[in-house]
Symmetry: C2
Subunit: 100 residues, 2 copies
DNA sequence: AGTTTATTTCGATGGTTGTAAAATTGTTAA
DNA sequence: TTAACAATTTTACAACCATCGAAATAAACT
C-alpha cells in the first residue's frame, strides 16, 4: 500500500467516534444488540452503535460509509438491519507501511 | 492507550504530507540532507522536508508541531537546524489497540 | 551587518461533524 | 395488499476545524 492510500485509511480512523465504531465492529462487541440469527463477530447494526455513542443515526450512517470507503469494513443489508464486518487486512497493510 | 488518544495520533498521520514527513523521519531517509555531525537515523531538518514535499516552510513547521503534539516525534534544535527523531513506541501503542 | 534556517501571525479557502426533516427500504399486521 | 411501523439513508444546512502561503519575526551562524 502506498502512503496516499494509507493516509486515507488513517483519516477514516482519525475521529474518536469513527474509531470507536471501527473497534466495536472489529471486536464484535455488539453481540448483545445484534439480531439473534447472526454470529457475534460479524454483527453490528447502526442502532446498536447509536446506543453506545449517543450520536444520531444520520451521523453513524455517514461514518460507516467512510469506513467502507477506506476499505476498513464491509457492510451487508439483512432485512431492516445493516450488518458490518471488519476487513483486518487493511489495517495490517497500513501497519506494515508504518513499521517497514 | 485509550481510544481518544489513539484517535489523536491517527489524526496526526491522516494527512498525506504529514504521513510522508513522519515516514521520512522514521526511516532516516534524510541523511543526504542532514548536517554531517549527526547520525543518519536521527536526522531530519525542515529544509530537507521542504525539498522532498515541495510545500512551504511554514506548513512544514506546522505539521512538525502536530507530530510532536501527538507524541510521534521529538525535536531538538542544533544550531540553525531542527533535528527530529521518531518515537516508535507511540505507533506501537496505537497498533496494539487496533489489533487487541 | 548580512545570510540562513525556522517560526509566528494572519487571512483565504475548503473540508468535517453534526442535526432536523424528508425519503427510502424492508417488515408486520390487519 | 394496503396501512402502519421500524431501520437506515439522503438532503440541506449550520457550526466548526484544517491546510496552506505571504509577510513579518526570531534565532544562529559567518
Amino acid at each position: 500500500m502506498d502512503s496516499k492510500q494509507a493516509a486515507k485509511v488513517l483519516k477514516a480512523l482519525s475521529h474518536p467516534n469513527r474509531l470507536e465504531i471501527y473497534l466495536s465492529i472489529a471486536k464484535g462487541e455488539q453481540e448483545r444488540f445484534a439480531v439473534k440469527e447472526l454470529h457475534a463477530k460479524e454483527c453490528c447494526v447502526v442502532s446498536a452503535l447509536i446506543e453506545n455513542l449517543k450520536i444520531g443515526a444520520p451521523t453513524v450512517s455517514h461514518h460507516l460509509k467512510e469506513l467502507v470507503n477506506a476499505g476498513l469494513i464491509v457492510t451487508e443489508r439483512q432485512g431492516k438491519f445493516l450488518i458490518a464486518r471488519a476487513v483486518p487486512e487493511t489495517w495490517t497493510e497500513v501497519n506494515t507501511l508504518l513499521l517497514g
